[in-house]
Symmetry: C2
Subunit: 580 residues, 2 copies
């Protein structure tokens, strides 16, 4: 076997699943966020790939293969050549033409659709491929969970109208639910931001784990689930005039009090009594965001509001132009585009006076300042569910898949249209749907391990049985082990055979680390007694089998686990689909 | 089905196989040399991939997956970061680090070997992957035969010594022979230049076709086969003193005679009576190559002689420095590194005098000038075989695979070593072995088509049977066709079902173009008569089957073709291996 197991993981692998990926010789880094799959990891990855293929084929998917080097012209048509630049790997040929290693392949498939699809009679259509994506992420970490190159299954649906897209989207939602059930991963469909994809509606599939980078809000009372980037909340009801004094706003001295915390302490008021005003720059525009002092800005919501532009903190020139003073910025009289978060209520607030060492008291939104009202704040644990008012609970999660209703976002920009039955030309209605192989591989480990190593579901295990010969130098042991391996393979069992000249301790530790569902031990004592030892990875007890018929017994045990696991997955998928 | 067949291929597709790739909706170009595989092409490609996988697994291959974005540091260790630049796609991340889309993956696998291999006890080892390669070829043309991105299976062998490498190389030679036999392609193992790979010995697998870009020399009398880049010849035997006059060389006027052709005509002597001296620059060095007037320089042989440096024509400064005059260059008195081709015999020649409008007669190699003697000329049709003296015949070919004995070329540069049984540290002895999927796909078409379209071998056909319903609007026809499709699929036959509302002419033309081995027609007349029509793509006659039992009959016919084809492939591979 090419690939050495490691007693200790390198120091930069801090999460358990990252450590196991390296220790069990599944993958090796080449550079930050760039990994090779070693043979064991590749076997798991190919099984994941095949499960995905089967489920996408089942909903009518047609597999294709689109390249990794893709011409800039297509990305320029959609506007993503520049928009994706911060995370893009680009290249040039020797004639000076530009190419991108795709972030995803929307433009490419839209291009093929406009070439191949002429008439409504060809629709609906589902196409997909497995292909490398390149994303120059600033902080790639956590092993295969966040990398800079990864293979994704991305499918694309083409429909005549939004009703067709809804059906395609539902079909993918169901297919993904089945995929994750078969992979042995408990994934939750969560409302998400459409982000760099454009389009209207999106869901992510999230597996709950502290290793995850995403923050999620799940309602404790109803099925509402959303990514923090998208989560809303029900605002507390306030009587329109509640707590609104008739008094005019007035300045007062606040020397050196530049933060909400300092103001809280100094004035003895809660954070919610203040307005937090953030001065930002998005492209050529200066934007001021006004939030209650106890709420944080949600950058994803703001980006969506700003048409996809990323806002950065304003510079000194921006402060001068807007008439704001750092530490004492407030919305009153500010010369900027003012965005007022929806959670700013009708009450009186303390706000920056736009003068050094001064604030204003009794500032009334709508009386003393105006702005466009939008939801741009972070929802948090304990907030009220926007659907039912129940309690939102915060989780950490890993995104293992996502689905997007693109609508006509790409087809209009790129001129992908079809002739409708009535003879009119209409834009194709599209969806896109992604699952990353490596991230799922590691997430399966997150959900399937113990203190000794990985405990693979049999559907994705690198091998089904791990045969250990002890000691391999003993001719009788060796002969018995090799016969057993051959018999098992004849019976359709995938076998990893450990014929290294190592101690029982080393071999058992490796078997537990690599985590094949069954360990089979052929030892000198067992051979003498006409026995073979069988141990399930997830069970504490081993079983002694008669050597005669052992292969048949083990093959039956393997089949039983395959069947049980498959039935459990079917049942779990059916339950999840019924709930959704 | 996503992908439209085309009546006419675009004008830039000039070869038959390129036209068929486009017309049968197998692939579509995105830019020069960059193609997407449509669903039909992807099905063929995946079957090719699986045949390769099975044969490499059979010789002990372990599959891995190495990325497309690879760090410059590894390429710098081998020296190929610069050497491959003329054909490389490079990229940078946002921290300014350099990466290459691999030309091949030698450096990457050598890197993994030095990390994973410690001891001789782990060797030998065979690893491989299927991965995209990037090659910015100047003239990519001919469809999938010469592209700028393509998926290659590349395997790498690691051995303790050259005897081990010889065994690994033989195993790959046999595996490749089996692969091509199974793909339905007649490939010849041909001695080849090691080119950009480095290393010692190399073979290419060449399919003979006028569509090919390579020139090959095969001996008509013995198994000698070589690429022009590498081919040698047996030189005619000449008595050491034959034709050598005792007279001294002497200048004479040749006003305006700057080419061999002009000299031939003017002096009435054959081209072989002259010396052709080419002044070249390779890096910082000026090199003069001296050839008989009737022989051409072989750039690949010269590049190998110059340690991999590519020679270009000398500039004016080089001529001045060397003391040569364009059109009248000769080896006598020239100030340059002089390479004398082996085919320059001991006779007296006419050569340039290094003065304008003058040549020298009676120039004797070894008396009047000296230089290093090397084989740097093109061998041609009719030359004598270097092994047996038989007649060499020139062919055109497409290279569909190649294998290289790398030896310790990479392992020494990159420090990939193992601990030998005697405790010494030794470099791992390596081989590398490539097969491109797309090029094989198109070469199968080169070898399997007629005037109506493709005639796929069943092992790689996109589907085994193509069911045509005529007319599809007839409910009875539709029901019968759909029942037949379902029955065939249940019996394990891969079916393409044409349910388009089109004429018999269109549908039959498409079936012939796409080229599935069997066409099954369900027509109104046949349904009424209780019949189904079966026609093999490679046969002129159709057969009328009873509708009852038609599926079983067709499935049996499919199985028979599968079996016959497999037996033929086995036999062909065995014969080829026996010959080699």
């Amino acid at each position: 076997m090419f690939g050495r197991t490691l007693r200790e993981a390198p120091a930069d692998a801090v999460t358990t699943s990252h450590q196991l990926v390296l220790r069990a010789a599944l993958a090796r880094p080449l550079a930050t966020g760039l990994y090779s799959l070693l043979p064991l990891g590749n076997r798991v990855s190919r099984k994941i790939e095949q499960i995905i293929r089967e489920e996408i084929d089942r909903i009518g998917g047609q597999e294709m293969k689109v390249p990794v080097i893709t011409p800039a012209e297509l990305w320029q048509e959609s506007g993503r050549w520049e928009a994706l630049e911060p995370n893009a790997f680009r290249t040039k040929d020797h004639n000076g033409r530009d190419y991108m290693i795709p972030y995803t392949h929307e433009e490419l498939f839209t291009n093929h659709a406009r070439q191949e699809i002429v008439s409504y009679r060809q629709l609906p259509m589902v196409v997909y491929h497995f292909q490398a994506k390149g994303r120059d992420e600033e902080r790639s970490r956590g092993g295969l969970l966040r990398v800079r190159e990864f293979v994704m299954k991305d499918s694309y649906t083409f429909d005549v109208d939004h009703a067709g897209l809804d059906r395609a989207y539902e079909a993918h939602l169901a297919a993904y639910t089945r995929i994750f059930a078969r992979l042995g991963v408990r994934a939750h469909a969560v409302e998400s931001d459409t982000g760099a994809m454009g389009g209207d509606v999106a869901h992510e599939f999230q597996v709950l784990t502290d290793e995850g980078e995403d923050t999620l809000l799940f309602c404790a009372a109803c099925p509402y689930k959303a990514n923090l980037e998208r989560a809303a909340r029900r605002l507390p009801e306030v009587a329109p005039t509640a707590g609104v004094p008739a008094v005019a706003m007035a300045p007062f001295a606040t020397p050196g009090l530049t933060s909400i915390e300092q103001l809280e302490t100094s004035l003895g008021l809660p954070a919610a009594a203040f307005l937090k005003t953030l001065l930002l720059r998005a492209g050529d525009e200066v934007v001021a965001v006004v939030l209650p002092g106890d709420r944080d800005l949600n950058h994803a919501k703001l980006r969506k509001l700003l048409g996809g532009r990323q806002a950065k903190f304003a510079n000194d020139g921006d402060f001068d132009a807007a008439g704001g003073v750092p530490g004492f910025v407030g919305p009153v009289g500010l010369r900027a585009r003012i965005v007022v978060d929806v959670s700013v209520g009708p009450g009186a607030y303390v706000a920056g006076a736009n003068r050094k060492d001064a604030h204003l008291r009794d500032v009334l939104p709508g009386r003393d300042f105006h702005g466009e009202i939008a939801d741009v704040h972070d929802v948090r644990d304990g907030d009220a569910c926007p659907r039912c008012g129940g309690r939102l609970v915060q989780h950490r999660g890993v995104e293992v898949g996502n689905i997007f209703k693109l609508g006509t976002y790409y087809s209009e920009k790129m001129g992908a249209s079809y002739l409708a039955e009535d003879g009119t030309k209409r834009p194709i209605v599209m969806g896109s749907y992604g699952i990353g192989l490596g991230r799922n591989l590691q997430t399966i480990i997150v959900e399937n391990h113990d203190e000794r190593g990985i405990t693979w579901p049999i559907a994705v295990a690198p091998f089904e049985a791990h045969v250990v010969a002890l000691p391999v130098k003993d001719a009788g042991v060796r002969a018995a082990a090799e016969r057993l391996v051959a018999d098992l393979e004849t019976l359709g069992v995938e076998v990893l055979y450990d014929d290294r000249d190592d101690s029982a301790g080393v071999k058992f530790a490796d078997a537990d680390l690599i985590g094949c569902p069954f360990r089979v031990t052929v030892s000198k004592r067992n051979v003498a007694a006409g026995k073979v030892e069988l141990k399930a990875r997830r069970s504490a007890e081993a079983e002694l089998l008669e050597a005669a018929g052992a292969a048949e017994h083990i093959a039956a045990a393997v089949r039983a686990v395959r069947d049980t696991e498959r039935a459990t997955a079917e049942e779990r998928a059916a339950r999840a689909t019924a709930r959704a």
